[in-house]
């Protein structure tokens, strides 16, 4: 899956500019493209080339011009086709696990400090995410079912954090109970 499908999805709800798309993606905890200018503007040009979206320039006085993109019928077909395709498996990159893997050569208290710092970091991230969700999150709510879908999605994000926190706590207990045997 690529950023293009996410863009088609967003445009299926309402027409948007590249700038709008960027902001939504930047705020989103699961559209993992970090709101990247380069990729978004490129993807929009490509999607327009394929006829999946149509850009309309709006000149405005005393404000920069916009290019508002609208999804086409072909775009909607492509989107639906992708929606029905087999789910992909998640990919998790946890550099901290790699770090822990070689922590053998540290003292136990240093390892515990790392684990504690990790737990803290996750707790902070999770709190920020919760705050963001309370303050207002992007979530189309055209029907009760759509609202439920988005609740489920944001719930997944929080569960991931929660699982990581639990793990960190249990890891601290496990490692804390070991004798120091650093090299």
């Amino acid at each position: 899956m690529s950023i293009s499908h996410a863009i088609l999805g967003l445009l299926s709800v309402e027409p948007m500019t590249g700038y709008d798309l960027k902001k939504v993606m930047q705020e989103s905890p699961f559209m993992h493209w970090s709101g990247n200018n380069n990729q978004i503007y490129k993807a929009l040009v490509e999607l327009a080339g394929k006829g999946y979206v149509q850009g309309e320039v709006k000149h405005r006085e005393s404000a920069p011009s916009k290019k508002v993109y609208t999804i086409t019928k072909e775009g909607l077909v492509e989107l639906k086709c992708w929606l029905l395709s087999a789910p992909e498996t998640p990919e998790m990159k946890k550099p901290f696990l790699v770090q822990l893997a070689w922590s053998h050569q540290l003292e136990t208290r240093e390892i515990l400090a790392l684990l504690e710092a990790y737990r803290q970091e996750i707790a902070v991230q999770m709190a920020m995410e919760q705050a963001k969700q309370k303050k207002g999150r992007y979530a189309p709510a055209r029907t009760a079912r759509e609202t439920a879908i988005w609740n489920v999605i944001y719930g997944n994000v929080l569960r991931s954090y929660s699982a990581e926190l639990d793990w960190a706590s249990s890891a601290i207990e496990t490692i804390g109970g070991m004798k120091d045997e650093s090299v």
Copy 2:
């Protein structure tokens, strides 16, 4: 963090060839470089350039030559320095969440089918991972503490799968209870 640190870590346990490194990374569920030729051989050249590792060519009769890399004192220092650096936060890419996000335009039974397929897929992946762990996994075990560390790491991987499974089940229940309101 980059692949170089993972390589330094692996070489800190025992000297290895690029091929060995590739195999270990390919098998590992958390060294997320998928056992990539290109990156590994490049990284080794770079590490050698910095003096962190030393390659020794072993010519063998009736078998291809090997280049066995050994970590240097400077490499060990660099590794330890990185080990003590602040933990990075995990990055999760879950394309399925993006797919779900726009499933509004599907019928409820189609959404449930997707969720079910996802749950199945995760269950399969988790089972494969468990089987791999039982069969034998890469894990240096020079001390009881090191064994505990690696247990904790592999435990994290299984917990992630488990959390995702739980989420999928609860999502199926939630969405299953909704009226069909597809567009």
